[in-house]
Amino acid sequence: MPAVAEITEVVIGIVAGELGVEPASLAPDSDLRAVEGADSIRVLRIIATIEQRYDIELEDADVFGVSTVDEVVTVVRAALDGAR
């Protein structure tokens, strides 16, 4: 399974790409919905891109429950762990 740091880097890269911000402006505790340019649909697109990247399908409760990059990383790791 990829390490936390590696997933965090991927998630930040996807968030930055989707929202058009510099990766350096994002941190593990960044709230996705608070990032400039974010709205509910864009956040869902971010989640969908992350799902495709790792070939996983997150539970709806997780999709709508996560707020920060860290939380996304946690549910991605859990999904990857469940897929093993």
Partner: protein, 292 residues
């Protein structure tokens, strides 16, 4: 699944006031402009081969939404009962509303029937397969746990306008003239339905003023599209949004306009309501590949 209760009848507008809105709705569509799923469209020319994969998925999506009519209709039946559980004066109000509800339901059922027929006639799906698929979605409960009557009409106002906007935008891109014709009819019907709900919400605002600001606000605060509770719904909705913009908050401007036109003078509660509704709009343009 039985959920929800009858509305707080003390908050209803007068029966005569409601009846005026129902009369206007029923009078807005002369018999010669009505249509049905059997005779009005040239099904022999329907061709899903002219659609993109995304457009076909969009047709499937809106078929599911329209086909959930029994759930929507049941909400009205339980919330505005026309039986001995209500006193005669309330019954009279609900009976007037029922004149609207059955016509509205007949039109929505025509939508579901026409979209399903399009899928069959255009080669998208076989009838048995489609019926089985729709039954899976149709059995899902549809919940609107509102107490104030204005909340039902506010929810429907947003839902009808959002659907109308989506049909218009989908129609702009499809190459099958039969689907284009169908989407035009659907869009026009949803526009009339929106007008009714806007009329009723306006009447509530004029009668109750500030007192309906909070109930309307609660509808927007908790707004969820029909079937949004279905697992993975958001993935499908995202794909649909890639075909034609599908965002219920597009309808919020129209709700703001209704509030604006209904009152001569804005009060603080209504100002706060409008600020809140505007804050709920999706504030940025959508990402690449999305039409706006």
């Amino acid at each position: 699944m039985i959920t929800g209760n009858a509305v707080d009848t003390a908050e209803l507008i007068d029966t005569e006031d409601l009846a005026a809105a129902v009369d206007a709705f029923l009078g807005a569509l002369p018999p010669e402009r009505r249509w049905d799923a059997e005779q009005s469209l040239d099904w022999a020319r329907a061709d899903a081969g002219r659609l993109t994969d995304g457009q076909r998925s969009a047709v499937e999506f809106v078929t599911v939404i329209e086909d959930h009519l029994p759930g929507y209709f049941d909400i009205y039946h339980r919330s505005f009962p026309v039986d001995s559980s209500v006193d005669p004066a309330v019954f009279a109000h609900h009976r007037e509303l029922y004149h609207f509800t059955v016509r509205w339901a007949a039109e929505e059922d025509t939508h579901a029937r026409a979209l399903a027929r399009y899928q069959r006639a255009s080669g998208m799906r076989e009838r048995d397969e489609l019926r089985t698929d729709l039954a899976g979605y149709g059995r899902q409960p549809f919940l609107l746990d509102y107490a104030h009557p204005v909340q039902f009409f506010t929810y429907a106002l947003v839902q009808e306008k959002a659907t109308q906007i989506y049909y218009q935008q989908l129609r702009a891109d499809v190459a099958d003239p039969v689907l284009s014709d169908l989407l035009t009819r659907l869009s026009r019907d949803e526009a009339r339905h929106f007008t009714f709900f806007a009329d009723v919400v306006t009447r509530y605002l004029r009668v109750h003023g500030d007192r309906v600001a909070a109930p309307i606000r609660d509808v927007i605060a908790d707004f969820r599209m029909p079937l949004a509770d279905i697992r993975g719904y958001w993935r499908w909705a995202l794909r649909i949004a890639d075909v034609a913009r599908y965002d219920h908050t597009d309808a919020y401007d129209h709700l703001v306009s209704v509030v604006d036109r209904a009152v001569d003078h804005r009060t603080e509660p209504l100002d706060e309501l409008i600020r809140f509704v505007e804050s709920c709009r999706t504030v940025t343009t959508l990402t690449e590949g999305t039409h706006s």
